[in-house]
Symmetry: C2
Subunit: 443 residues, 2 copies
């Protein structure tokens, strides 16, 4: 056996925009997607927004020959919308639900009902163990005044934690999905810096697709250009990321996206563009490249830690903004609830007065009385539910802030361990089977 084995892996990712009866041409588009996947025979297919299990089962049936292994991740009220199809055997799956995901009363945005999550599947590709992740983060509805930003930052934080902590045993890591973040957005930097995941669009040797790798484009007939302002041409929010380990290196040979239309079809697969990355996995005997990579990377390790400290600090600020908002909202709910309670109490007093002054034969305004009582009751119930919800939101935000504070402390401690004069001391201890560029503060 040669020292280096090379395996090609084609990865596909698409946000299917699959809201039955609401998304345009939903059934026809699933049929198109099924036909294309059946023909293209990608190794790994990562789908988002497959909101209906029926559509998943339709694809599963259609891809039974080309992709015998699949998994649909269930979560929330509607589902996580995440599905994976694979030519390689799926040995194990695991789901992590984001602790924050919008608000249940923002029904028209609907993110809360989706139960957004990270789906993980462990695959064997040849002799390598691949951890494959698929995820979909909370949408950004208004970039200028993005009230969901703290939620998305917490999701990005949990995503990097989950990937980092679950991938220590993996030889290669592949993550695909709709991150709903621009390439340089805080959450994206957090994810890439902490995990060491690399962006296939930036790493590829060949690229064929939309300008700048855009995945939500103005030329797509399902997109209203107005919504994209000030990014008329489009935005890049869907990604295929990857990283190797000391056991295997991973390269992106080529990458492509659809360009807003599909030849011979009247409309595209979805409102998002589909991504395809051709990855090449090269497995080594552990001793071979580990040391080369280590010495190469140790030079920049201190810089990376310093950068990470900045990013986590920025993320912490964003989470604090969210904390402040949630506290305000909870305070408003409490105050409204207290007003409802006071009103109810006032009503009871008014009712008790004629009851006490039995003789007075004034007509009691029953209708208004019951209407008002009903109003008080609804106010009390709603504010109680909101109070519970905001308390849970606060706990999640506080918990994340605590973790981030700990992380900054740990990183700063690590930074002190890098004497500027001796950069080669930097990575004294590199755990086996881990990519040294992937930054683990637990070391």
């Amino acid at each position: 056996m040669a020292n280096t084995d090379s395996v090609k892996v084609r990865v596909f990712s698409l946000n299917c925009w699959g809201i039955r009866y609401l998304s345009k041409h939903c059934r026809q588009r699933y049929a198109m997607i099924g036909d294309m996947l059946c023909k293209e025979e990608h190794d790994i297919v990562l789908l988002q927004e497959v909101w209906s299990e029926k559509d998943y089962l339709f694809l599963k049936k259609k891809l039974a020959c080309s992709h015998p292994h699949s998994h649909y991740f269930k979560s929330g009220v509607i589902g996580s919308g995440l599905a994976i199809f694979s030519k390689h055997r799926i040995h194990d799956t695991f789901l992590y639900r984001y602790s924050l995901n919008g608000y249940p009363y923002m029904v028209h945005h609907g993110d809360w009902f989706g139960g957004k999550a990270i789906g993980m599947a462990i695959l064997s590709i040849g002799s390598l163990t691949a951890n494959v992740y698929v995820t979909h983060l909370h949408a950004e509805y208004c970039r200028e005044k993005d009230s969901y930003l703290p939620h998305r930052v917490v999701q990005a934080w949990e995503l990097q934690q989950f990937v980092r902590h679950t991938s220590a045993g993996a030889d290669v890591v592949i993550l695909g999905g709709d991150l709903n973040m621009h390439p340089q957005d805080l959450g994206n930097r957090l994810l890439r810096s902490y995990t060491g995941l690399r962006d296939s669009f930036l790493e590829t040797d060949e690229f064929d697709g939309c300008e700048n790798g855009l995945t939500l484009i103005g030329d797509n007939p399902f997109i209203s250009k107005k919504e994209l302002v000030p990014f008329e041409k489009g935005i890049r929010i869907d990604y295929i990321l990857f990283k190797g380990s000391t056991k295997a290196e991973i390269f992106c040979d080529s990458m492509s996206t659809t360009k807003g239309s599909v030849p011979d079809h009247p409309f595209p697969y979805s409102d998002h563009e589909a991504l395809t990355a051709e990855l090449r996995l090269e497995s080594h005997t552990p001793a071979e490249t580990g040391r080369d990579k280590q010495s190469k990377d140790s030079d920049s390790a201190a810089e990376k830690v310093a950068e990470l400290v900045d990013i986590v600090t920025e993320a912490r600020t964003e989470v604090k903004v969210g904390l402040h908002c949630a506290e305000n909202m909870r305070y408003t709910a409490t105050r409204t609830g207290a007003m409802g309670l006071a009103l109810l109490f006032l009503e009871l007093v008014i009712a008790a007065v004629p009851w006490l002054a039995l003789g007075a034969e004034q007509p009691f305004p029953r209708t208004s009385f019951y209407l008002l009582a009903m109003l008080c009751f609804v106010i009390l119930l709603t504010t109680s539910l909101l109070y519970i919800f905001y308390t849970m939101e606060l706990k999640s935000l506080q918990g994340t802030e605590d973790q981030m504070r700990l992380a900054v402390g740990s990183l700063q401690e690590k930074l002190r361990g890098f004497p500027l004069a001796q950069p080669h001391n930097a990575q004294r201890k590199s755990p086996e089977g881990r990519e040294p560029s992937a930054f683990d503060p637990e070391e």
Copy 2:
């Protein structure tokens, strides 16, 4: 440096029963717990049911010298109640919230509000990386008719998944907490078989404590013996579990529990007994014991897989029972909601009749009308919320069932790979840094 380094680690676990104003002598007990921990100086202290952050901060202040590192895990409405104090630096923490955790309307049980979770902390103990987990599972209120059993089985399933997937990079794994399961309960077998975690009570060389290691005993003054029937003496539901890796072996030298009272104090620390385990970690150079252990374990690997298939199948049955229950509950909620809607419709028709027959001067029964409308509204709101809740429960149960089915398939595939005649082929590929006895279906 010698080939084998030995480090002693003392681990403490206690369910503090810390419901402010409700748990008896709560403040005094925290003061006692603080004094004892300060004096005993355990390496790792794992606490559950620290419901109030104020109590955590009280302990943190008290233990600032003996345990400079600590973390409090926030989740749910009240909190997860989980806290960790450590003499060794905590580098990183991560929290996994169980997807199922009782029902919000079972307010008197309160588990739902607690947001039960698994807290993970990554510690450096000497040159070793230790993954330390603390958790608290849903309580069992009635063993004969345990309506929460499916929830607890799902929690045990998620616990084993979380430990298994996050510990691949760890040299040693320590888990402590109130599992609310007897030693041979399904969830416990699932956890131990899948992860390879060993029970310190069963593994210890020396034991000093309650008979059979009981941790919830009839002799504890805070316990009503009636509640323990038919286990008058008590039950064992708190555990300290551990496992090593190919890099380090772990042994339990001695273990002790409190015995329902504390010398020189009028009452014990809690309604649960406190556990202390003295563990010994022996680190090796990777090559040394890996191979010995591998050949020793491969003989019984096939048996272990077969056992695991049985356990997962049993767990799947339990989850299916839960699924059936949740479906019934959702059906009941739907039916009740439909009745509320019909009633509201009927009311509107009745109201419309006198309005249409304008001339008729019959007195309209306003009071009953508004009362009934209020009732309809409350029914509709409540059943809608219940419908959403049960749908989320169903999704979680279905998701777990899917994962279990996949796991059984994967295990059976593995079982076919063990030819009875060649038991030594069994573990052809053993990933580095992992304990071969810890059973990983992703291999």
